[in-house]
Structures are given as C-alpha cells and as structure tokens.
Symmetry: C2
C-alpha cells in the first residue's frame, strides 16, 4: 500500500496538472487567435466531466453494495444547510444549461457541436454531483485509498477548472459591457469587438438567452467553487482516523433565534439600500458623463458607510471574545482549517484591488470628485476584511455550547483522552448551573438547563471550593441552592452569545449585499478611471480579471462561514 503522504502528493500533482492544461487552453481562448478556439477548451472540460461521472458512478455502486458496513463519517464536512444552498445554485446552473442549449439551437449554423455536447454533459454532471454531495460527501474513505484519492482530486480540479473558465467568460462579458458603455459615452479610443457568433440567429429567443446567461453566470461560478472546496475536504479526509467524541445534541431552533432583533433589522436595511444603489448605479453610469461621476461617488459613499458598520460589528465581536476567556476547541477539523485558509486566501483578491486603489488615489494627477472617497473606501475595505476574518476564525475555534455539555458526559464515561484533546477538555469554562427548580434567568433559555438531568454528574459530591476550577459541577436537586454570582455569569455569557449571533446575522446580510454588487455588474473599479491612469489599461484589466472572481468567492464563502458562526456560537 502507498504511504499516505505520497498518495496525497501523487494525486495532488495530477490534479494540478489537469487544471494547468485547462488553464493553457483558457489563455489560448482569451487571446482570440487562430489556433485555440472555445470548442477546444469546452471539449477538454467535457472529457474531464465524463471521467468524473464514471468515477462517481463506480463509487456510488460500490458503496451501495457495501451497505452492511457502516462507513465512517466526518460530521464537520458539508453541513446540511450548505448542501441545501448548493442544491439551489445547482438548479440555477441547470437553467443555465437549458439556455445554453437554446442559444446553440439558434446559432446552429456557425457553432461547433462541442458547444451543445457541453451543456448536456454539464447538466448530467450537475445532477449526479448534487446526489453525490448529499449522500457521500461526509464519507471517510478507508479502502482503495490511492485510487479514491485520484477520483476525488479529479472531481476537485474539474470543478475548479469549471470555476476558472466561468470566471474568465464572465470577466470577458463585463469587459465587453464596459467597452460598449465607454464607446456609447464617446470614448472612442477603445475598439469594441463583439464576441458573438458570426451568423444570424434562427429563433427569436437568442438575445433573451444571451442576456439571461449573463445574470445566471455568477450563481454557476459560485456553485463550482464551493463544490470544489467541499470535495477538497473529502480528499483531505481520505485515510483519516476520526476521533469518536463528537456529540451532536439537536437543539431547539428557538434558542438560536431568541433575542435576534438588531442584527437582522440592520442587515436587511443594508441589503435593501445596497440593492437600491445597484439599480441606480447601473442606470446612471450609462447615461451621461456627469451622472456617471455622481454614480461612482454615490457608490463609494455607500461603501464607506457599509464597510464602517461591518468593521464596527466585527470589532465588537472581537472585544466580546477578549472580555472573557472563552473555551477553545483545538481538535483536528480539516473543514475548519480549509475555511480559514480560503478566507485569508480569497481576501487577497480584494486587498490587491484596494491597495491599488490607495496608491492610485494618492499618486493620481487628475482630480475627480471621488478621489478621496475612493481612498477612504479602499482603506476601510482592507480593515473590514482584516477584522471580519479574525472574527470568523475566532468564532470557528470556539467550543460549541452543546460540545461543552457533551464533554461533561465524557467525564461520566470515564474517558481519559491524552494530548491535545485532553488539554481542550480540561480548559472548559465553568458554566456551573444547578438544580432544575431554578427558572431560566432573565427570560433567556439557558441551554445548560435543558439537557442537564440526563448528564448530571458529581465529581466528588462536595461543594465548589475553588472558583477557578474550570470543570462542570453538576449538583443534584437535593444539594444546596446555586451561588447567585455563578448563575449571573452564565446569564451574562448567554447575553454575549446573543450579541454575537446578532453580529453574525448582520454580517451575513452585509456580505450577501456586497456579493450582489459586483456579481450584477456594479464594478466601479472599471469605471472610475483612477487606477487605469496609474497602472495602464492592460495591467489594471489583468489585476481585475484575477481579483474579481476571488472577491466574489470571498463574499460567498464568508456568508457560508458566518452562517456557520451563527449556528456555532
């Protein structure tokens, strides 16, 4: 059998090379030369998808045969709400495939047949992949390791390539729209060449299909990158030994939503405001030169307010974490590790745009009205991502409320774990609470009471002597009444958790809003002209082509992570 580390390198390198060959095709397509056409790229991707289909089929059939053997599962991989969200995105992708086929029918005379095979295979691929995600993404593979690694990494990089190629097409669309807009406004030094097929459409729906495709692209792109991340976690899990001390006590959702007022309200205000800005921007930026400047100015002002409040919210969350010593969870968890790396990695896209904006605003020789608002916006954007990432990561490394309860039960079972796990269990913060007669303090449902009876233990039967003893002290009803100070601590902790949940919801909504803006064409980085003056059109377009897809992914990914924070806190 192949050693684990070598198996990872062996398959990882295979995946990287798959992607790079696709990337070489993409570069050829984006040159619009004579050698490499879109059909070549599309044929290559279709081949990869077919290979993935075959592998998934083989995997599912084999798993179904082994139904008696209960497979090991990684509880952290692919939460059900994430899979639900992906299913919606996958449906939108299916609609997109239908539109693509419709477009092909219209332009049949001058399009290669590869362009109709692609959406058909893509639709089958999407359906099977969603099935696979629902029933197998949590599997921890233990047999045929090396072969399975190749299968999973093939799936990861096929989806990554689909993301890249989607992002490239979208950047191309946006750039075309931008050039069209500029030439409509009278800047004629940009030559606009259409990338539409060279024949007339035979059906009436062609332009409808083309325009709708433009709006569906963002969803398709996010679908592929998120699937790719989930499959990557599955790949990391291959051959892993899961520690069996994950207790998942189902909670009543009421506990989570109690006290959720300020966060959702402010968040929806931000979302509605952003949609308004989006619509106004798209209309005004095409009208005249004056309204164009005004629209850009408005965008930055709106951005400053939004970034400022998000920055304040994240900082508040971080301050709450600093005020108490919250219990940390340091157990091994590849999903969380990946989440962390993806957050910081994809933030790079937005940061590089921001720093370019800062440099351009300071160094520019022209003086548009939005010069200094651009500077302020860029700096706030850097800060906002910095502190939001910190807040998310700290929250994800927090010990979950129900896990705290779970570890009390472990003590009961006499489980003595060594090393890291042991350390984390000994650091559990005291949420000491007592007899069930005491009503929930201050109207808040205290989770520590709900499942207490089931797991009540007495370490040595004595009173709490040392208030610094960070361990559960569960007293039976016949014991003395609780110390009021301790009860107050629990309530204060609970109120803090509520504030954190409000912050999480607020940030979820703000990040959704900030995803909407660039996804639907509100990209002042193209329109403001400052960066273009400093870096030149070619370099700045290159930066945007790299950074924009990362930025979109960052927002989508932070929404997912913040939702997890909300469930987690």
């Amino acid at each position: 059998d192949y050693p684990r580390k070598s198996g990872q390198i062996l398959s990882g390198q295979y995946g990287i090379n798959l992607l790079l060959l696709g990337f070489a095709f993409m570069l050829g397509v984006s040159y619009h030369g004579h050698s490499i056409k879109e059909k070549h790229l599309v044929s290559y991707i279709t081949t990869l998808m077919l290979m993935q289909l075959l592998w998934m089929l083989w995997y599912i059939v084999r798993k179904d045969r082994q139904k008696h053997a209960l497979p090991e599962k990684d509880a952290h991989a692919g939460t059900s709400w994430l899979r639900g969200g992906l299913t919606i995105l996958a449906m939108l992708s299916l609609i997109m495939d239908a539109f693509r086929i419709g477009k092909y029918v219209g332009y049949k005379a001058c399009l290669s047949s590869a362009l109709v095979v692609y959406p058909v295979v893509h639709a089958i691929h999407t359906i099977s992949q969603v099935y696979f995600l629902w029933f197998h993404i949590k599997d921890v593979i233990k047999t045929f390791e090396t072969f399975e690694r190749f299968g999973v990494i093939h799936a990861v990089f096929t989806n990554l390539l689909l993301w890249c190629s989607g992002a490239m097409t979208e950047s191309q669309n946006v750039l075309d729209a931008h050039k069209k807009r500029l030439s409509a406004l009278g800047f004629m030094n940009y030559t606009y060449e259409s990338h539409e097929p060279y024949c007339n459409c035979t059906t009436k729906a062609c332009s409808m299909f083309s325009n709708s495709l433009y709006y569906l692209y963002p969803f398709n792109i996010e679908y592929h990158i998120i699937v790719s991340a989930m499959l990557f976690v599955m790949w990391k899990n291959i051959g892993r030994t899961i520690e069996h001390h994950q207790h998942h006590i189902k909670k009543k959702p009421v506990a989570k939503t109690a006290g959720l007022v300020a966060g959702p309200i402010l968040g929806f205000v931000a979302l509605a405001g952003t949609i308004g800005v989006l619509v106004v921007y798209l209309i005004q930026v095409e009208a005249t030169l004056e309204t164009r400047t005004w629209a850009i100015h408005m965008f930055y002002q709106h951005g400053i307010v939004l970034m400022g409040s998000m920055f304040i919210a994240s900082t508040l969350g971080l301050i709450i974490y600093r005020t108490d010593s919250w219990p940390q969870d340091s157990s091994k968890n590849p999903s969380r590790q990946l989440d962390k790396e993806l957050l910081c990695g994809s933030a790079i896209g937005s940061w590089i745009m921001s720093w370019c904006g800062v440099v351009a605003a300071v160094a520019s020789h022209s003086e548009p009205s939005y010069r200094w608002t651009n500077l302020a916006y860029s700096l706030l954007l850097v800060l906002e991502k910095y502190f939001q990432n910190l807040f998310i990561v700290e929250s994800l490394y927090l010990k979950q409320e129900d896990e705290e309860e779970g570890s009390a039960r472990e003590v009961e079972e006499g489980v003595e774990r060594s090393g890291e796990a042991g350390m984390s269990s000994s650091r559990i913060f005291s949420v000491t609470s007592s007899s069930t007669q005491v009503p929930p303090y201050d109207g808040i449902i205290n989770q520590a009471f709900v499942t207490q009876e089931k797991m009540c233990i007495s370490l040595d039967g004595s009173q709490v002597k040392n208030s610094h003893l960070y361990q559960y002290q569960c007293q039976t009803p016949q014991d003395s009444p609780p110390l009021p100070a301790v009860s107050r601590t629990a309530a204060a902790l609970n109120r803090k958790r509520q504030i954190l949940r409000n912050i999480a919801v607020f940030l979820v909504l703000c990040n959704s809003a900030l995803w909407l803006l660039p996804a639907f064409g509100c990209r002042p980085q193209y329109d403001n002209g400052l960066e273009q003056e400093t870096f030149g059109f070619a370099i700045w377009t290159m930066v945007l082509n790299f950074a924009m897809p990362l930025n979109l992914f960052y927002r989508m990914h932070s929404v997912a992570s913040l939702f997890e924070v909300f469930c987690h806190v």
Copy 2:
C-alpha cells in the same frame, strides 16, 4: 493572552497586506507611467527593511540578556549547510549592493537619492539578517508571542517583497535583452525602449556595473526567497511545543560518501554539458536566423536527454522505496511540511509553461524544426518534476538511519509515547544484527554495527521467536551467532541506501544545471516563437513573468531538498 490561531491570522494578514501594497507599487512601476516611479517602490522597501532591522536588534538584545535561560530549539529548522549556502548568496548580494552604489555615483545627476539609500540599507539588512539566521533561526519563541509573530512575519514578507521586486527587475532585463536581440536580427515590429537613466555616466565603470548587476541578480533573488522560507518556519514554530525525542548521533562522513561513484560522475557530466549548451546557445541565438533555430533545437535535444535521465533516476528511487517497507517518520515537522508545499507550489510555474508549450506545439500552424522536440521536452519536463517531487517527499518522510538507532535507546529508557509518535516507533523495520565479531557483510560499512555497543539492549533476553516482530533485537556477544539471512537483509538495505544517495547527488547536480540555464539568460521560451504565436505576445510575456521566477526558485529549492535527502537517507 491572544489565542494561538488568532495570533497567526492577525499577523499573517498583516504580512499579506505589506506584500500587496508593495505589489501595487510594483505594478505601477512596471507600467512606466508618470505617477509611480522606481523611487517610490524603493523607498517603501527601504522603510520595511529598516523596521525589520529595528525588530531584529530588539530581539537579539533581549535574547542576549536572557542568556541564562536555555531557549528551546527546533532541530529541523535551518540546517547548517543551508545557512552556509545562504551566507555565500548574501556575500554576492553585498557585492551587488556595492555595484548599485557605484552605478548611482556615475548617474548621480539624474537619479533620486532613494536609489543610494536603498543599497546602503540593504547591505546593513543583509549582514544583520545573516547574523540573525546563524544564531536565532532555530529559536522556538514562547514569550511575547503575538508581538514576536508580527516581527517574524514582517521579516518573512519583507524578504518576499524583495524577491518579487528582484524577480520583476530581472524579467524586465531579460525582456529588454530579448527585444534588443530581435531588433538586431531584423524583426523591427518590436519597439525597443531603453530603461537606462536619462543622463551620461560620469565615471568609466557604469556599463561594467550594469552588466555585472545582471549576472548577480539571480543569486540575490534566491537569497531572499530562501531566507523568507526559513523565517516562515520560525513563524510557524512560535508557541509550539517541541517533542523531546530527537536523537542526533553524529556520523562519520565516510559512511555517507562510501560507494558514491555513478551519481557524481554522471551529474558532473550533465553539469558540464549544460554549461557548454548555455555558452553555445547564448552565442548562436544572436548570430543569424539559421543558427538561432539550430540553437533552440539543440537546447531541446539536450533538455530531452537530461529530463529523461532525471526521470529515470527518480523512478528508480521510487521503485526502491516500493520494494521494501521502509520505516516512515510521521512526527510533526513544519520545515518538512513547508518544503513539500513549496516544491509542489513552485513546480506550478514550470508546469504552466510546459502545458502552454504542449498546446502551442500541437495547435501551431507554423512548422519550425523544433516543433516536436518542444512537445517531447515539455511533456518530459512535466513527468520529471512530478516524479522528482514524489521522490523527494518520500525520502523526507523516511525514518533516518540514526533515528532508527535512537529509538532503540528510547525503548531502553522505558519511554512510552502515545498516539502518532508511538505508532511510528512501533513500525520500525527490523535491522536485527548481532555480535560485533561478525565482519561487515560484503565490504559495505554497516551502520548498524558502528554504534551498536553503546546502545545494545535486550528486550527479554530470549531468542527471536517471531520473525515479524518489527523491533530491535540487540543481542549481547555471549548470545548465539546471527541468522545469516537477517544480516544479508541489512546489507541489502545498506546497498539500497547507497543507490539512493547516488540518485540524490545526480539529481542535485542536474537541478543545479537546470537552474543555471534560465538564470543566465538561456530562455528559449522567449525565442522559439511557437507559444507567442498561439497565445500572443502580451499574454505569453505575462505567463513567463509569473512562471520564470517560480521555476528558478523550484530548481534552487529542489537542490536544497535533494541535499537534505542525501544527508537523510
């Protein structure tokens, strides 16, 4: 105190933003516009270097005061030969700084004073950094964690930025040389603009300084990236708890060099041949169009032979690993982890060039003589890196010979380790050997005999009953004579280790040769025209500007890793 994971994110994000701001300056400089000039970039880098100097000073002074407290050290970080190599590179960097100052003196009239402050600060920075690397790189920091993290990550990203800016300048130089060459050959559609200062030199040595700088750049660039990687390991080590079971028994070097014949000879032949090819290429590619084609063809043929033999050598090594179950070392080791990631990460640069070459060779409409040799060369390059990486990673995860001996001693000490570490020690392969009277088998120096007396233990005094018992069985001289089969196994293992060492030396020399070629201007990717035809000049130059520095780093890094493999096996 700040939690560890948050501390990492906090400082890591700071470092990324430092780099990105520098990157924004670099983009501005590479546009050659009116806003951002070289002096701005250089001032920014100088500021960063001064900050790093202050931090290093503070750190060294503080450590010197605490001399009584023996600091914890990570034995794997920054081996002495690596530090020695870096010292040589640093000296070449110092010569470069001197040349830069000399150049400034010549052009004083029209250069900003920032351009003389920079080499002076860089020289001081280089000297202090080398001192820091010699005496503090192994430190495992346990106090002031969050502050120290900022200091170390600042140093990491300052060096990374110095690498980026060096790589950019070098790419610019190569591109200029390429354009000059093309216009000399009569391709006048490339406008060649000089980036020399706009005034006459006042001293006689200016052109000498400029030309020498060109040859010193590659060393300076490698210096910064390797320092950056070493400091990154130091950053990862902050707050880490080192397991204290690293036994480092000094070996006689004779054991390592015995039987080293084929590897060094073949390697030196390859190195000499490559230097020949380099000289001939550089002369012929500038002469006429015919010799140009011939030179490119020769380059690819030479490359095919070299890549082919490297591929065979790595595969042979991997086959040797598959024939026996070699003991694996799975202990935690951030340097090794980073080595692995850097190898695969930097290979991407060369792979993307290769795949572009493959696509271009297949899709091209022109028919130069080197079309198919280019294809074969590109494919072999992909395979060579793929298997070389595998070979290096497998070798690094091998349990070291002297560690195997060390773990026998551990048994003696009654050390019972739990978890992963325990697993690895129980998987040690049987190198059962017996009384010292038996002469070394087959003329090969058997390491198992050399240090045997010192650590001989008897588990229970009885004979080896179960031949599958994978543990040391050390018999005292008064025991029965050894089983000849077992002795033969040990000798066979030793012969295999010799073959592996030969392979490592051969690959070290080949990789050095392959570093020399692009570092000194032999870059047929610019000259062959195939990729340029398929991807266009702008895109292809962009790809090369990204991939070439990575490729150079890959070769330098694989030389270092393979040298470690040689010491390790």
